[in-house]
Amino acid sequence: MAEINELIVSEPPPLADRAGVGAKQTPPPTRVRGYWRSVGFRLRHDPATLAFAAIVLLIVLAALLAPALAPFDPYKESIIGRLKPFGWRGHLLGTDELGRDMLSRLLYGGRVSLLMGVLPVLIATLIGGLLGVVAGFLGGRTNTAIMRMMDVFYAFPSVLLAVAIAGAMGGGMANGMLALSLVFIPPMCRVAETATTQVRALDFIEAARASGAGTLTIIRYHVLGNVLGPVLIYASSLVSVSVLLASGLSFLGLGVRPPVPDWGLMLSTLRQSIYVVPYVCALPGAAIFVTSICFNLVSDGLRSAMDVRM
């Protein structure tokens, strides 16, 4: 009804503007929502992703608050309390082969595992992303030089490469992380390069150049915002891979050294006792499994939320 009234009341356009020069432009009635806001909106309306994100948050919080939450000292050994089942004398999740409290060790182990899951990805995102954007934007010989260098790394399976690098550098947590970072740089570089190459061919880059902007300014204002999406999606999917690979390195004795608690290392030492206390031995594996699958599912949710055609 209101619309009809408006139609009747509305005046004809002024004569001077018959040519439509200033033809009344009406914006769409939706609320103004930028790309990142609409991604946030979609994420908020995706209950599955939210649930898995909550679990991830829980795991991260538990690891961060390990000193406050852990009921026992994770390094405290006990000769008589070895390999005890769930709930033995207040040890909620039992004890390991040296009589240390499993719950405390799992909480502390989460710190190491998560750190080894996140930090290499962060380093690889920065270095690989930067190399990819440079290669993609400059193109030509620079692109060939950088991308062929990255291709060399693809000659080896990533697990083998991580093991080889960590082994060559002599194990330890820092070297393990370095090895993982090196493994993740080439694929990250490739993702950033592909996204940049696509953006570079669009007219708005040329328009920016026509308004007098230099290469760095164009990359900063016009390229990064468009490359960030795919890079973030890929990085989030790498976290779970990194947690797994880090556990694998520790399992092989190339990552964290005992007695530091780490899920991969715990799995490795407890596996001999699988017939004595099977459920206790399976715990570190379960922790790795849950963490990596939750990261993976959150990454999937992020991917579909970010897949907005704009």
Partner: protein, 340 residues
Amino acid sequence: MDPLAPAPRDRGGPGGPLLIARDLKKHFPVRSSGGKSVQAVDGISFSVREGETLGIVGESGCGKSTLARLLLHLIVPDAGELVFDGTTVRDDITVGALRRQVQIVFQDSYSSLNPRMPIRDTVAFGPFVQGKPKGEARRIARDTLARVGLDPDLFGPRYPHELSGGQKQRVNIARALATGPRMVILDEPVSALDKSIEAQVLNLLRALKRQLNLTYVFISHDLNVVRYLSDRVLVMYLGRVVELGRVEAIYTRPAHPYTRALLASQPSMNPVRRIEEPPITGDPPNPIAPPAGCRFHTRCPFAEPVCMTVDPPLPPWLGPQSHIAACHLSDRLPRRISHE
């Protein structure tokens, strides 16, 4: 002898040449062809007077867009020079200074706006990179958006995907105008729009030209649109200028067979004049290996033996009323024009 405007170094002044292109060449090398190259723009010379609109028409692939990018040094020419307002680009003024005075509007209104940037930032970007403080650049963006008919409060914070094609093209025009250019190169600015929106945008371009004393180079394959907006028309074929003259002269007395064919190829509104046969057949020849002699002789209905061996030169441009065509036979062609 200089085939161009009478006094090429004449600085400014109404009617003086604002931009002179002299023998511009751009050949794109083709890989795996043994050193051959696509002759996208092959020796094009013309001048644009202050305040006029020069229309450039030609088939797809004749080098129109390459020429547009050459005029802004977005592609560096292999040979030839650009003289802007009496100073040679590269020698006397830098490319940056040229880009302060000349701007471009692209055809694809979708890909020429950054999808992750609100349009007020897109419009403010030009003034910002040319040294204006952020607040000042924002103010200019508001003014410019209002000038192209977009309410800066309603449209400023929006993203390109929220606008219609016509609105996006208005933003593109605002972006080009935000830096206060004297000359705007319009590379098929309305080709992607539907007819009603096209008319609005064309009228907007006309009004802006009057208000801001702009000079336009208007590139299009649509002869009606070019006729509506241009003072002079330059016809391109396979990287060369084939005809150049005032718009009435070109449209009523085309001197080059190619121009005649282009005009005849427009669908007629008069059912009696409707023709079944296409005026020219086939695709343009391969620009990697253009035909010898006149480049149009392979499709020209009037071609004579001389056309196959001798490349007809473009006669010199003698003054505002000149009408020149690169054709051996232009004096002998029947003056009648069928589409009228």
